[in-house]
């Protein structure tokens, strides 16, 4: 799978972008040239040698704030995605196999999560577990998990009734075997797409929650928070939102590209695609692959 993703140009680009963002998250806080929280009298300055991206309304160095905020932003959205993945996918797969009681319970639970008012739930949980980015993202992750539950359940259902699964069962396969060998490959592309989407949503949520004082506390920088405060001073610095927006966009785009690449290379069509490209690169004359219904 990994090799096939790298065989695609878009796959390499996606991994490149995500590695860059990952490096920013790890090294960003150390690379910041100034203290991201130190204010000065030079407010809303343009770009200069001292302040590459200028200063904000309190005179804080924007480039430092971007770099320092990268870790919180990336970790926050990754946490959302991972929590949603674990809380959603595992019951999604199991709901098909563990019998009617589990199926009914998990379905109703997913419905309940969808119906829960997001803010009330977030406030309640932070009141219970304490206010912090981890708790806030846990809440968001749990609330997004029905998406993963539904996606993985639908993909599993389609495979579970297939003849090749029945053939494996006739050979004495266990449910675990069927999931590992047959179901997982079919579910993965759908989950990858949902994961990429969730990471994008995570960025927006990290910043919108800090607005309400949940999660990241205001002086601490995040990409989403920078974008939000920049928007208030648009008439002084019309270019200011570009830098944080570009970083958010690059991350979401990288995730989406990767998800697309995974979807493209998984399954029969994906293999044919990669093989065709390889063959073309070798100068082969292509014969049409026999159609699946043939």
């Amino acid at each position: 799978m990994t090799r096939r993703v790298f065989a695609l140009g878009t796959g390499r680009l996606a991994v490149g972008i995500l590695v860059f963002i990952g490096l920013l998250a790890v090294l960003g806080p150390y690379l910041a040239p100034h203290d991201p929280l130190a204010s000065s009298t030079t407010t809303l300055a343009g770009s200069s040698w001292k302040h590459w991206l200028g200063t904000d309304y309190l005179g804080r160095d924007v480039s430092s704030r971007l770099l320092a905020g990268s870790r919180t932003s990336v970790l926050g959205s990754v946490e959302v995605a991972l929590v949603a993945l674990v809380v959603g996918v595992v019951p999604g797969l199991l709901s098909v196999y563990l019998g009617r009681v589990f199926e009914w319970t998990s379905l109703r639970l997913a419905d309940t999560l969808i119906a829960l008012p997001f803010l009330v739930f977030a406030v309640a949980v932070t009141a219970l577990l304490g206010n912090g980015i981890t708790q806030a993202m846990l809440v968001v992750g749990v609330l997004v998990s029905p998406l993963f539950f539904r996606v993985s359940r639908a993909a599993t259902l389609a495979v579970a009734r297939s003849q090749y699964v029945e053939a494996a069962l006739i050979s004495g396969a266990s449910i675990g075997w069927v999931v590992r060998r047959h179901v997982w490959v079919k579910v993965l592309p759908a989950i990858a797409v949902a994961l990429a989407q969730t990471i994008g949503v995570g960025f927006i949520v990290v910043s919108s929650l800090s607005f309400l004082g949940i999660g990241v506390q205001p002086p601490a920088p995040t990409w989403g928070g920078l974008l939000a405060s920049d928007l208030n001073y648009l008439h002084f610095q019309p270019y200011a939102p570009i830098a944080p927006a570009a970083l958010i966009m690059a991350t979401v785009w990288g995730c989406n590209l990767l998800a697309d690449a995974i979807r493209d290379v998984s399954g029969e069509n994906g293999r044919a695609l990669v093989n065709t490209r390889k063959a073309r690169a070798n100068g082969a004359r292509l014969l049409p692959v026999e159609s699946r219904t043939g």
């Binding site: 494996a168 998984s266 043939g294």
Partner: protein
Amino acid sequence: MSTDNPVLTVTDLEVHYGARRRRRQALNGVSLEVGRGEVVGLIGETGSGKSTFARAVLGLVPFSRGQVLIDGEDVTGHSQRKWRELRRRGVIQYVFQDPLRSLDPDATIEDSLVEPLLIRGDSRADAVARIRPLLSRVHLDDELLPRLPGELSGGQRQRVAVARALVTEPALIILDEPVSALDSANRVGVLEILKELRSAEVSLVFISHDLGSVAGVADRIAVMYQGQLVENGPARDVITAPQHVYTRLLIGSAPTLRSAAANRSERAALRALLHA
């Protein structure tokens, strides 16, 4: 081809589908014995209960009455776990009608072929070594191993399915309409392979709605009609001297190169007799 140590003994099998008012009988007191190395053709029209019979024998459909012995083991009332143990030994295998749907489209031919062996607990290396000699038995090339089912022709796919059924060296293979989805050239190819298997130790139950494809392969032919076994005897006898009206109709309906229209009135008479 002795029947004193049968591979499969089915006695008085009854299967019902549905519950309460929608309950209807799919199999009605079917008894059949398959000897070691014997090829039994099971013939009948759509809905006659052929596939239900196969699924009941494989433990995929519960039966309400009767007894099933597989290789001497009484599987009547087996739990899921006991069934899994029995299946893992690979004593009984099954070939589906449509190989495109019974082979995982994302798994290579090699993956599909070694799967029953891996489930049994063999190592990958052992399993791969075991499937190689099988390929020549079903007239397939080594080259196909890294391919996906979608990259093979229909005939090649069905031969892969037959090879997959053979990997565990089963005592019995049930083939459910194995050639019905194939064109005539591929059909002949697969039938040739089944004929060659007769010399091996394996018994076959060959399910088909088409008497023609079974006639050349089977030692014995059993005919099903409306959930009942109406005829069961040596292949030659069943074809040359059919006892039951339905069998006579079936033989009369088999298309020949000469126009089948000649005996249309005879078939009409038989049909009237059958429904009477």
